[in-house]
Amino acid sequence: MIIEVRDLWKDFGEGPVVRGLSFTVEAGEVHGLLGPNGAGKTTTVKCVVGLLRPDRGAIRVAGREVPDDWTYKELLGYLPENPSLPEYLTVGEFLLLMGRLKGLEPREARDRAEEVAALFGVEAHWERLIHDLSKGTRQRVAFAAAVINSPKILVLDEPFNGLDPEAQRVAKVLMRETAKAGGAVLVSTHLLDSVERLCDRATILSSGRAVASGTISEILRRAGLDEGSTLEEAFINIVRGSRGRTG
């Protein structure tokens, strides 16, 4: 497995946000992380990429302990929810910087920067300051930066925020290609229809716990629904059920 989260706990001082969460993402898999607002999705994602240190439990990415063995970051592409970007840099500068940070040589970094800029349709903005870009264009730039090193592992938090259908399609193709090449994709999102079509497996979180996990069919069965039902119906059933149990 490429990502392994085992018995993860995280507390910011007002009660645990994540409570004993466990799940795995295998090679060749796109894994969806679903849950209502405040379920602990972003906290989990931040723990996986090493931005937060778990209070308890273990996370292994590509066989390395997170966050102490930072070498896994060379394989990682990360897109945060509402990414904050350095507004004082131009698009070209930021992509080049990210390439260098990911360990690419200057020439390679430039080539890749131009490539991903073209892929996400931001090459026309190459010399514009990020400050001057629209929200959707910033999200494209952030996505391009996340994949500049052709990462084996993609961790994406609400990646479709502000993206138009064309850019969403590019993003989805990239995610599928990463998985097909033997990598792994962990995607946290509210867009259940996207998850239904894109993800091989998913984990549903509620109040920091995994309340369902498996393929989409397995989740539908777990919710007591038949194959013709939607993930949205299953999601609502499972989350309401889990709230009823905890309440």
């Binding site: 910011f12 507004e87 004082y88 940070l101 970094a109 400050h131």
Partner: protein, 509 residues
Amino acid sequence: MIRLLLSAKVKQYFGHVRRSPRSVFSLVTFYLLWTFVVGALALFLRFLGSSALGGVSGALEVLSLVTVTSMLGIGAFLGTRGGVTAFPYEVEFVLTSPVRPHVFLLSDLAFQVMLLSLYSVPSSLVAISVLTYPRHLAYLPTAALTYLTAILMAAMTSHLLGVSRAVVGERASRAMGWAVMGLVVLPVVLLAAGIDSPPWMAYHPVQALALLLAGDASRLPVVSLYLALLVAAYAVLSRARFYTAVSPLLMTVLMEPPRRMPRYLRIPGVLSASIGLVGRGGLWWTMYALHLTRISREGSLWTGAMVLAFLTLVNSAIPRLTGFGSFPRLAELSMVAMYTPLLPALLAINWNVSERRNTWYISVTGDALRSYVGTLSLSYLTVTVVFSGLLYALISLGAEEVPFLLVDSLLLFAMSSFGSLLSVAISVSSRVATSPLSLGSLLYVLFPMLGSALLSLPVVVVRVLYPAPDVVSPVLLAGLCVYVVSASALLWRVVTSSGPRYLREFQEP
């Protein structure tokens, strides 16, 4: 409605204090520390004043003039930045609601007066008490009222300049702001330069307020007249539709948004040159270029430099006025050195407000945080040495001789180096400063200034006490150099080894 808006503003401003009792404790500690520092400064002035100015009243006059100049100067400075202290939520939600302009403006006026009073009145009253003891009870009521009047005038000036943006345009409004600042500092400049004040200077608002503060009641009609004029102008201008000119001042007061960066930096060729800087060389060079690019483009350098120059100018009047004997120039030069850590402190506040949230992309890419933190202090050092060196050179050119060049240069470097490292240490390891105008920002200023003064003590001692600092023995000078370099290296090691850990752990939930 005014009360509602004001209470929301106060809750937002002190929001971080409501999170935990620890925040309250830290805030109170910083506040007491600030009051203590001002009191200690007053004690120092009292001794100087009584020996050099022929009594306490001379020192009181000097302090009053400098305080009032600073207050009204800050008001005019904020005016050039937009004047109205709107939070981002207010720009997005309050200004888009049917709240009438003068209602919003009055709530902000109350907020500014409250905030500036909180910052300055108690500490200033402590200073007045120290200076006038045992007759302090006779001075305090007038002083408190005068301070409040000065604060009200400063806040109204700031608002008027801000609102004028919507009436006369941004450029003209800024020009007016700078003109007002020039007028405000005029009495201090004249006194500091040793030029006799013309008779009409007695009617200058700063001079009148300062005299009133020092106990001269005959200035009351002049001050009242200025206040009445300001209120009248305020009543007229507050009806203007100024919402389009409001920017979230609390966030951007010490920087320029990139869209306003100097035109020459926006020329594609120049931007491309920066791309070369950022994309070329090793990781350390890339990080160093990144910091310098940010500092120059977001404008924090220019604003920080201006604040440093302004405060150096105003405060260099103190040693001259309190009569450091026959060599006030020398005091001025040392003053530049002692104020130098202000620049990295302001850069650190800006970093905390605008850049900390961007460090996620460094954190998730390999082990770049160490080089990020290391080069952050190097970039502060570069900027500080260059700017304070220029300021020092300008003042030296004004002087007919350049005494104590070696020791002063070493002091300048020591203060820059320690100030830069301590600024990085405090900004990386603490999240106190939520905005450039927050009380927590005081910590960002006090810690590097006091810390670097303390660390530079051996150089300061030689500078002050050595009988002939311009002919310091080479052995002593070499010893001082070794001390400064090794202490800086040690501090740098601590900052670069522990800084990344703090940055990693302080990622927001």
